[in-house]
Structure formats: C-alpha cells, structure tokens
Symmetry: C2
Subunit: 316 residues, 2 copies
C-alpha cells in the first residue's frame, strides 16, 4: 500500500470518523502473558485524552491556558495529550499545558487519540534514542500495534529500510500496509533465521523492541556493528550474554516517554505535524471498546494473539 496517495494509504484499516467527543485509549502492542500487575502498569502508561468541544474550563484549567503561538489552545479546541494528572479513564480530566497539543488537522478523534503515546513514543525510540539515520535498517518487533505502526510509518518516511514482525496474518497485512519493506511472522519458530538470511552479515542497525523479555537475547544476535536495541516494552526478566554487546559495540537502550523534556516533546510534535502534512502520519485504529468494557479490554490485551492497529476506548 505504501507509496500510494494519502487517500488510499489506509484502505486496509477502519478509519471512519468517530462521533464521540472524548476518547480514552490504550495501544494494542501489549500481548502474550503477563501478570495483572504488569498489565495495569502498561495500561496506566497508555492513557490518552481528547478534550471535547464541550469541555468546561473548570475541568481543565491548566490545559486551556494560552501557550506559545503555534500551539495555543482555546476552550473548545480539539486537542490531544500525552499524559494526564487525574487519569484518562474518564470523560473529563486535568492535564499539564505542556502535554496538551492541538489535534492535527484532518484526523478524527479516534486517530487523534492514537497519537499521544504511539507516535511520540515511536519518535522518541527511533530518533531521540536510536538516532536512526536514512539508509539504516530497522527491525520493528511487534509492528502491528499502536507504537509499531507509528514506527513503521515514521521509519519509512525517514528513509530507513523497514522490517517488521507481527503474530497474525491480519497483523502482517497492517505492517506491510504501513511502510514495512518486509514482514515476518514472529510465531514461526524459524523467523529469526529468516531475518538473518534477509539482512545478511551486515545485520540490523536498530531494533524497536516491544517485548524484550522474549526477544532481547535473539535481538543481540541480529544487530549490526554499532547496532541499538531500543526497549519500548518488556514483561519480565530474560537471560542475555553481555559479551554479545562487546564485539559489535552494541547498545541496549530503555525508553520512557514520560522522561521527555518539554523541548523534546515540542521537537516530536513539530515532526508529527510535518508527518501529518506530508501524509505519512495516519493512525490505524484496531478494536474499539466502550468505557464500561474497560475490564474486558484489559483481558483482551493480555491474551491478544496479535495486534492489528491501535485499540481504543470510546466515551460514547
């Protein structure tokens, strides 16, 4: 699908405008087994908020104060946030001004709700941490979820050779439809050998890793000289051989969006606005849940057999 006009880009996805006025979302990258404690932690890190056009100023006093010209928000503006003070599973919330941004022009609420964590995290992983450069090869491990799709689109737009993995046929289709040159099924026992064969001796320069407790040791085998594994997600411990980092002078680097400085958030936003203008930023929405079904959404994210776009919680 990549390379077609903006209008055709997401014919694989369900991108109908959503009528709801406020959305809380989580992203679909969390899958496989994990304790409830781990799941809660993942989900708490993935709250998003779209302030509705009917939002009262008493509900979000900070987020509605005027901010620098380009990013100023007025009461009634459509906005999204990367973080909240009072929590995201609610119709009204409080967010700090520096984490609230205007909803990018042509996106609906469901897509807007998919920007805050996934695209900002993808930018932080790929650019701020991996410092990926055009011509490098990136493997996005778990590419069909919210962060994965964002990373695929971004990496392709920035001139990288993009490999992705997914765990289902529909997920693989999403990955290929969003910028990946090649996709692998990580449920196949020999998929690592297939990646090795595909990239040859040079290896992979950057790996964006959503499930490090399963993949990290194998990741180190796939890396190029000077390669970087960026840890976006992990659900437990794993045994690695530190010597695997030495000869290649490889790096393992953790990512936390909440550690971003204000300047870094503004850099990311500027890049994402440009990505929206030039059509590569197009969130793919996966399963939608009503707020009352949040518990079921949690169970599904733990037991997921493979993501296909970003999961969204609806407010109405």
């Amino acid at each position: 699908m990549w390379g077609q006009s903006c209008g055709d880009l997401y014919s694989l996805g369900d991108l109908q405008p959503d009528p709801s006025s406020a959305l809380h979302t989580r992203h679909g990258r969390v899958r496989g087994r994990g304790s409830r404690g781990e799941a809660r932690e993942e989900l708490q890190g993935c709250h998003h908020l779209l302030l509705s056009s009917t939002m009262k100023d008493t509900a979000c006093p900070q987020s509605l104060r005027p901010s620098p010209p380009r990013l100023s928000q007025q009461i009634g503006d459509k906005v999204f946030t990367t973080n909240t003070v009072t929590g995201g599973y609610a119709e009204y919330t409080v967010a700090s001004q520096d984490t609230v941004f205007p909803l990018l022009g042509n996106l609906d609420f469901a897509q807007g709700a998919s920007i805050g964590i996934p695209y900002f995290t993808a930018y932080r992983a790929l650019i701020h941490k991996a410092q990926a450069t055009p011509g490098e090869t990136v493997l996005i491990h778990g590419a069909s979820g919210g962060v994965g799709v964002a990373a695929c689109q971004m990496a392709r737009a920035y001139g990288l050779k993009v490999l992705g993995t997914a765990g289902s046929e529909s997920g693989m289709k999403v990955v290929l439809g969003n910028g990946a040159h090649k996709v692998f099924n990580h449920r196949e026992t020999d998929y690592v050998d297939k990646i090795k064969e595909y990239v040859g001796e040079e290896g992979v320069n950057v790996i964006i890793e959503m499930l490090a407790n399963v993949n990290l040791s194998k990741d180190l085998q796939l890396l190029s000289q000077g390669g970087r594994v960026i840890i976006v997600g992990s659900r437990g411990p794993i045994e690695i051989n530190p010597r695997d980092t030495m000869k290649k002078e490889a790096s393992i680097i953790g990512v936390s969006l909440y550690s971003s400085s204000k300047v870094e958030l503004q850099q990311s936003l500027a890049a994402l606005i440009a990505g929206n203008e030039s059509c590569w930023l197009r969130p793919v929405i996966g399963p939608r849940y009503q707020l009352k079904d949040a518990a079921q959404a949690h169970r599904d994210i733990i037991d997921s057999q493979g993501a296909s776009g970003k999961m969204v919680l609806m407010m109405s």
Copy 2:
C-alpha cells in the same frame, strides 16, 4: 594520594624502571572463575608490544615507516602498540603503523606496555562510549586492575566523582591511590547497599563494568536517570530485567577497542599524551612474569583473588 606531586603519586606501587627491551603484557582485571576458553579470549585481547631499541627494520617494516610529524617513529624509537598482526607473546612482532605509537616521555617499558589496552580501553569506555561529563558520578567495577586503574585516573582528571570497587585490601589501596574518591569491597555481601547509600537517590551516571555476567543486573539498580553501563568485560550469561532500563532510560553499551577507527585511536592518543604531560597518566604495575611462565600467568589470572595493578609478561 591523589593531588600530590607527580613524583609521589605512585608511592603505593612498584614503578622501578625495568631493564627489558621488549615486553608483552596482559592486564590484571580478569579475576574470579571462568573457563579456559574464556580466559584465552581475554588474554588474546590484551597483548601488548614494546618494540625494542634494537628492533630490526626487517621485523616490523610497516611500523617503522614514517607517519605524520607528531607521531613519526624511526628505527630504534621506543614505541608501544594497541594490536599486533603476528601475536604478542614473542620478542619480535609485526604491527600495523596506525596501531603503533611513541612511548610517552617519562615512562619505562613496563609502564609503556600498560598503556596500549588499558588506557585506550578506558578512554573508549569513558569518553567515546559513555560520553561522561565533568560532575557526573562514575562507578568503576573492578577498579584495581589495568583498565580499572586507568579509568580511575582518567575519570578523576576529567572532573568526575569517582567510585571504585576491588576485591582485596591491597586492591582497594591501589584504587584510592589512583583517583577514586571512595572505594568499596565487592566481596562484601552488602556492598551494593553501601554504594546505594553513598550515592543516594540520584544514583550513578556511568558504570564501567569489567564482569558484567556477575554485576549487570545490580548495576541497573544503581544507575541514575539516563545512566549508562559500559561493558568492558564479561564471562558468561546473566539474567536481567529489561524494564530496569525503561523508566530511567538507561543504556547498556558494549566496548571493543578493536572497533576503534584510526581517527578515534588518534583522539585517544592525544588525550593520553596530554595525560602523561599533566601527570595523571601513571600506569601501576602488578605481578611480573617471565615469558616462560606465561602458562602460570594464565592460571593466576583465572584464579585471581583481586588485582593490584597491571600484570606484565617480561621478555628478559
């Protein structure tokens, strides 16, 4: 001892000039248990050579060709190398011109033989990889061996807060005498708690790690936000929790001196020449062995109970 005049700096060590004209050395940082295979690998990575004043030009044709002005070597010059083509356990060897450097002014052969791997590795770890900056705190884990002593001296000279570990009283004395503000005995069961108490909540910015298979998991607990563990040595696998890297956005970075570019080697050399001029570069020599006792030296390095300076193989 730190802060005294150059002449007094190493009163703890044995720095008598050595009469030998060519030395092959290994450094004393390798200790604890390991297979013979691993030990061989360590030692093969630690060969040094001092070309003697009686060296024949037929033996080292490349290394004796004129090179850029500041670094030019003539037949008969005292030099050291960071690598050899034909191996270091011999009286004569061949080395590539870009790995041969003039012996720094006031150093004897034994000290000169301790520069090639330890100081270049310390520079690569601390500056090229960790990008340590003045005011940061560095923990040098295994600070009493060749690389450890070099890292202590360098880090102190560059304005870092220097913590070191050693496994014996004599080793701890060496560490304190070579730049560390504080030393811990890593054979004490609660030494990690003591380090935590010493550095407080801020944690350690950089850890130079000589035995990652034992320490890496604990290292991640000690790190500051944005902290870096630099893997200089490891003898096997270890279980870590990748989540420990995420919240702090910590990095684990492997180091291999042999991956240095020519430009990087020249940068390191320039820094080390300056370090010699300003007196902070003063190699500490540990046990000395005759070449015929190389096998025993290997056994001792495996079974070492704690290093106290760099081990040296003598040619005469």
